[in-house]
């Protein structure tokens, strides 16, 4: 067991866990931030995607001891304000993307990171950035359209 001070969604939070604990389980079990999902534990599905210093990362593959002072953002921390969602979340709602919904927070985190570094991605760039995120329900066409819509809404 060891104590870790984590900077999550702009707040300092502390946990006392085994240093090998993946960030995913720290978020879910210890900080009750359950929007970050467990899908495979092998970095193969993208359901656990969070941001580390703004870059998309599979939280199931990152031991909490490797986080240090780097800033973590989870789905719970991306809304524009307490009452307004992020433009990517809004696009997801407008295009009614979700079916079961389980993978969608991970999809959104990958999409937000993509648009941050590339506000106007081509179709091929979207596919490349998103291909690590599996949607078993097959909502890929809507996800792509939502990313394009969010890109338009933020760059106009």
């Amino acid at each position: 067991m060891a104590k870790f001070q984590l900077k999550i969604n702009g707040k300092q939070l502390s946990v006392d866990v085994d240093p090998s604990t993946p960030l995913l389980w720290v978020l879910r079990d210890h900080l009750h931030l359950v929007g970050t999902k467990y899908g495979c534990g092998a970095g193969a599905c993208g359901a656990c995607t969070v941001h580390l210093n703004g870059n998309a990362l599979r939280s199931c593959q990152l031991p909490v001891s490797a986080v240090g002072t780097q800033a973590i953002t989870t789905i719970e921390g991306i809304a524009t304000s307490e009452t307004e969602m992020h433009p990517v979340q809004k696009a997801w709602l407008e295009l009614d993307v979700a079916q079961c919904g389980y993978c969608q927070t991970g999809q959104i985190m990958s999409a937000v990171a993509l648009l941050k570094r590339n506000p106007n991605p081509t179709e091929a760039e979207i596919e490349a950035a998103m291909t690590g995120n599996i949607c078993r329900c097959g909502t890929y066409i809507r996800i792509k359209a939502a990313i394009q819509k969010a890109a338009k809404s933020t760059t106009k």
């Binding site: 999902k37 467990y38 899908g39 495979c40 534990g41 092998a42 970095g43 193969a44 599905c45 359901a47 009614d96 079916q99 079961c100 919904g101 389980y102 993978c103 179709e123 979207i126 596919e127 490349a128 998103m130 291909t131 690590g132 995120n133 599996i134 949607c135 078993r136 329900c137 097959g138 909502t139 890929y140 066409i141 809507r142 996800i143 792509k144």
Partner: protein, 410 residues
């Protein structure tokens, strides 16, 4: 074998013997793991007063007697919240995990959440069975299909729906089943049995159409016209007019005959199950030897469409699920153990493999709503295989098709 079957069999043999040509083809498909995005889990808190669960379960009523009997609780003690499920596809119809969580909570005298890892879920699954189907057709000198013999089998169940199209459209028709036991657990998977039955049947019809020199879409409509005018047998379980309706709508909306892009090749397939009718035209291209489905046009008759936006989303998902499983879906078993244990080697379709476009057209009618979650799924497989034939010149008989394509190349 009943006398009727024996007679049918004798007549069938005679037709096959006297036929100008006989075409016989065998189709296979592997086990599939459901792999819903949310692995299996269940919350249980059993106390002296009540048995409380938060359960992801498709049909809670079906689990009641199981929970009560195996956990020694009274029916009135059972309380269950039905959590949203991160997918199911049939896997969450089988609620053994509720009983397991209950046992553990009882022993621990505490609230417990049972979690299966992805590996637990994939190695301890209730899989889509592995199936084999053989079709044998007799063709006379006038290019009429005079007889059809179908034998379907599997571990541990046959995929056959014996009264389904083309039953009713062919004068001499016999469908038979065999089953062999296995200790591998199997269960319902999105459109059980139909998901394979359709792939074999609709691939075979495509090959038959070619053999008799007809357009594959028109050939199906012709058979349906015959089934409407002079149906063979009385037990055919589909509505001929609705079946024909989706094919005609598809022909019109897909602009059949002209693929969306110039390099694309087209395949068609249609199927009836769960009281609804679905037909697809699939456009594929080959890029560096890899197949890619770039566009799909779907015609769907599910009666009155309750929520058109949600319905369209559901069909898109079923089409993408179908493409993924047709090309990549495979769970291999090696000495009782699954060769695939996680999503790094169990292949599920991903973003860049999904079509650029799926057009969904619903037949407009006021028939009380029928099924939608499953019906668009089964016919996708053969539409992909039939398009790949046009693109590569190779007929595909064994799923997953990508593996079969690569094998043929080697």
């Amino acid at each position: 074998m009943t006398l009727l079957r024996r007679t049918k069999m004798e007549i069938l043999k005679l037709h096959l013997k006297n036929a100008k040509r006989v075409i016989e083809r065998t189709y296979t498909a592997p086990f599939l793991a459901h792999n819903p995005m949310e692995p299996i889990s269940c919350f249980a808190h059993i106390t002296d007063e009540k048995a409380f669960f938060v359960a992801p379960i498709q049909i809670p009523e079906m689990m009641k007697q199981n929970i009560v009997a195996n956990l020694d609780i009274k029916p009135e003690q059972l309380e269950m919240k039905l959590a949203r499920m991160g997918g199911g596809f049939g896997r969450r119809a089988y609620g053994h995990y509720i009983v397991e969580a209950g046992h553990i909570s009882k022993k621990m005298k505490a609230p417990v959440k049972l979690i299966y890892t992805r590996e637990d879920d994939m190695t301890n699954g209730i899989y889509r069975p592995t199936y084999i189907m053989t079709y044998k057709a007799a063709i006379d000198e006038n290019n009429n299909v005079t007889a059809l013999h179908v034998i379907g089998g599997g571990f541990p169940e046959s995929p056959l729906h014996e009264n389904r199209f083309p039953a009713g459209a062919i004068d001499n028709y016999l469908a038979e089943s065999w089953e062999l036991p296995t200790n591998i657990t199997i269960g319902a998977y999105r459109a059980p049995r139909s998901n394979f039955n359709a792939s074999a049947e609709q691939s075979f019809l495509d090959e038959l159409a070619e053999a008799v020199g007809k357009d594959p879409l028109d050939f199906r409509i012709e058979l349906l016209k015959k089934a409407k005018a002079n149906p063979v047998g009385k037990n055919n379980d589909y509505d001929v007019s609705r079946y024909m309706g989706v094919l005609q709508l598809l022909k019109e909306k897909s602009n059949w005959g002209s693929p969306a892009t110039k390099n694309a090749k087209r395949g068609v397939s249609a199927y009836f199950c769960h009281a609804s009718y679905a037909a697809h035209v699939v456009d594929v291209t080959m890029k560096n030897g890899q197949p890619y489905v770039e566009k799909v046009v779907t015609a769907m008759d599910c009666g009155f469409v309750v929520n058109p936006e949600g319905a369209k989303n559901m069909v898109e998902g079923a089409v993408i699920d179908g493409i993924g499983n047709a090309l990549y879906g495979e769970l291999l078993i090696d000495k009782g153990d699954t060769a695939q244990k996680n999503l790094n080697n169990y292949r599920i379709i991903r973003h860049r493999e999904a079509p650029k476009k799926i057009e969904v057209h619903f037949v407009q009618n006021n028939i009380d709503p029928t099924g939608l979650g499953e019906p668009p799924f089964p016919p996708v497989f053969a539409a992909v295989a039939n398009a790949l034939y046009k693109a590569t010149g190779k007929r595909l008989y064994h799923q997953p098709y990508l593996k079969e394509l690569n094998k043929q190349k080697a």
